[in-house]
């Protein structure tokens, strides 16, 4: 199926999954999802824990049968042509799904056979994957001797053995150290760029979604509440840049804030807040150390009498464009700007805007 110049690889229509609890109540985990994933793109399904991401992936991979709706992969129905659809699909589950007493190679060979590979084709495929996940040196070692990061890499490798057109990656960075996480994210980028694979990536981490995705579907309570490129999503909710000017201990006249609001185009608000200081619990009698809570919400422990930070926060449609004019006005008003931070809108803000909740809540 074509959508403009893009070719649809995954087509999801009205996909629904309900579970019956022991007490008889019915839980709607996925409430009817409509979705197209284009060939060659990295599509992120972004949502908090329990939003329905894993249930959706489980239905698309044939682990769960949909209560209603239909999905097709490469034109094959996941319910009526499951075996054909599965041939196009590689899955990287959230948990490590490997045989711990088998070596990396034995695991890869076994799952390769499950995808119909055998003989020299299987050996070649296993070698390629071992190279791709950079574990050629350890291929004979048992999985239970591997670090968490190495296990993750083999876990990913298993999903790539049969060179699938589409790879599902279900929160592959959960519980991994930063170095391994970086390696996994780089792997996803390589899958797209080197192997031209289509990736469906689920995560609750906005920054991963933002870095990797061609398009993002934001899912909450079993429904996709927003869908598009990162830019499109931010545009949709009209989120603004946030500029934070650090002014140290200087007094900030109200007139400065008023000039920001009235003289600079695109400025929607300007406010000043000084840091709040509270004693450190248990050290109330000591005036030495206090907790500084900055206007941004950041907190740190400082020596009392140290810098009493104050910050001006400005919301602007195009923050970077407005910056020179804002600095000029501040200079005219005799306020020294010690530092400037420009925060562009992100998916976290989009989710907050759409649901009133943070992604990590």
């Amino acid at each position: 199926m074509q959508n403009g110049h893009k070719q649809v690889l995954v087509e999801v229509r009205g996909l629904k999954k309900t579970f019956k609890r022991k007490d008889g109540t019915v839980v709607e985990a996925v409430k009817g999802i409509d979705l197209d994933i284009y060939r060659g793109e990295v599509f992120s399904l972004l949502g908090p824990n329990g939003a329905g991401k894993s249930t959706t992936i489980s239905m698309l991979s044939g682990l769960l049968s949909p209560t209603e709706g239909e999905a097709k992969i490469g034109g094959y129905s996941i319910t009526t042509q499951a075996l054909e659809a599965k041939k196009l699909l590689g899955v990287v589950p959230q948990e490590i799904a490997l045989y711990p007493t088998l070596s990396a190679r034995q695991n890869l060979e076994f799952f390769g056979r499950m995808y119909g590979l055998h003989g020299s084709e299987l050996a070649k495929s296993v070698d390629e994957v071992l190279d791709f996940i950079d574990l050629r040196e350890r291929h004979k070692d048992r999985i239970d001797t591997f670090s968490g990061g190495m296990k993750r890499r083999v876990n990913i490798g298993v999903g790539l053995l049969h060179k699938p057109q589409l790879v599902y990656m279900d929160e592959p960075t959960v519980g991994v150290d930063p170095q391994s996480r970086r390696r996994i994210l780089d792997t996803v980028i390589r899958l797209k760029e080197e192997r031209k694979m289509t990736v469906l990536y689920t995560t609750h981490l906005m920054e991963e979604s933002q870095e990797l995705s061609s398009r993002v579907g934001i899912i909450d309570y079993g429904q996709i509440i927003a869908l598009g490129t990162v830019g499109e999503l931010i545009q949709k909710v009209g989120e603004e840049d946030r500029l934070i000017f650090s002014v140290g201990e200087q007094q900030v006249p109200d007139a400065l804030l008023e000039r920001f609001r009235t003289e600079v185009p695109g400025i929607t608000s300007a406010s000043y807040a000084a840091s709040e200081f509270t004693p450190v619990a248990g050290l109330e009698d000591s005036a030495e150390l206090v907790i500084e809570k900055r206007s941004t919400g950041a907190m740190r422990v400082v020596r009392s009498g140290q810098v009493m930070d104050g910050e001006i926060t400005v919301h602007a449609k195009r923050g970077r464009k407005a910056l020179p004019e804002l600095l000029r006005i501040a200079d005219e008003m005799g306020v020294d700007i010690l530092s400037v931070e420009v925060r562009e809108p992100d998916l976290e803000a989009v989710f907050l805007h759409l649901t009133g909740r943070a992604l990590r809540e």
């Binding site: 044939g62 682990l63 075996l83 599965k86 041939k87 589950p93 076994f110």
Partner: protein
Amino acid sequence: MLRKIWAIAYVNLYQTFTDRNLIIIMIVTPLVLATIISLAFGNLGSGSAPIQNIPVAIVNLDEGASGFNGGQIMVEAFVPPDGEPGAPASQMPDCPETEAAASTAPAMSLTDLTDAVLLDDAAAARAGVDEGSYAAAVIIPADFSQKMSYSLADRQVEVSSIEVYGSSASPISASIIRSVVEGFANQLLTGFVAAQATIETIGQQFGLAGMGAAAANLSQAIACASGRTIVSIEQQTVEGEQADFNPLVLFGSAQAVFFALFTANATAATILEERRNGTLQRMVISPTPRVMILFGKLVGTFLIVLVQLIFLFIGFTVIGSLLEGQFQSIWGDNIIAIALMLVATTAGTAGVGMITAAVGKTAEQANIIGSIVSILMGILGGAFFAVNALGDFEFLTRLSVVRWGSEGFSKLAGGDANILTNVIFLAILGALFFGISLLMFNRRKDV
């Protein structure tokens, strides 16, 4: 598809046979246990033996000789007149109790040990054994007393023969009856010959012609009687072949099948373990039909149990040979029948394993259910004691895979190749249980 089934089975085999602890549990433990139980069985002749009321048919065809009827004396020991206690198993009717026997009190009487019935027809007695009504039939021949008589002309006592027609389904009981009859007949002979010698000696003392030479020859005959079994006992299986019973056969086969059940349960339960570990889901999301995955698991379970049983039966043969000091093929010589029994037993145990895995929702639950089923089947199948001790509840043993398995192997060890019922039962049970477990697994659409 066959490649996929083999791949799944191979992973199971590899994981099992590279685990040292599993090998110890699967192979070393049953070998040791069965050997210990079999050695302990050597004390079954003591009063503490759990075996009693062995059903026996006695057929006395003995016509007697010179006013003496040895067959009748034997019958009265087994089936005493009403109100009289039976003779102690170790005691001969005409002999005074020995010192050793007197000091071993209380001795088990034959009526405690056996539940004997007097029949007139040898064929009917044998048929009763075949049908399972009796553990053994003791058939005293018509010339029993006649042959025991000392022949002045031949200067020797002729070999007489009592037939003990034993059921290969109850080898322990048949063996016990054989021992009892053998001991009883020897003592009967010794007493009878001694009595005749006394008569001859008296004749010599009173100058009766020929008595002196007869007495000398009689002494020689008594010496022979003490050195060998003059009254030979033929223990016959239902096919009429002679066989010696080895307790390692019964307890070994029962323990082997019992432990095979545990292995089958544990291996089949790996389906549930794999579900927990996510590897089952990985198989399900591959282009492999679920039924193939289950077949792969069944083949894995089957092969593991088969390998285990082969090792165990070889092990028992080695142990049996070591104990005897020479090579002994304790399972008989019918290699094809042994192979058939091994395959059928494996099918039966694998089927039980699959069904317990299908019933359990988690691996732990399946293992608990499997253990309970295995222990019950082990008890009913004679893995811990001879099933005769179950008395009226003996019919329950027919529900046990262990019983059908060990019975088949005991038959083969006894030279009885009639194992078709055992093979069919085990094969059908295996196929039935696998079919049911397949349906149960398939009904769980969501993995």
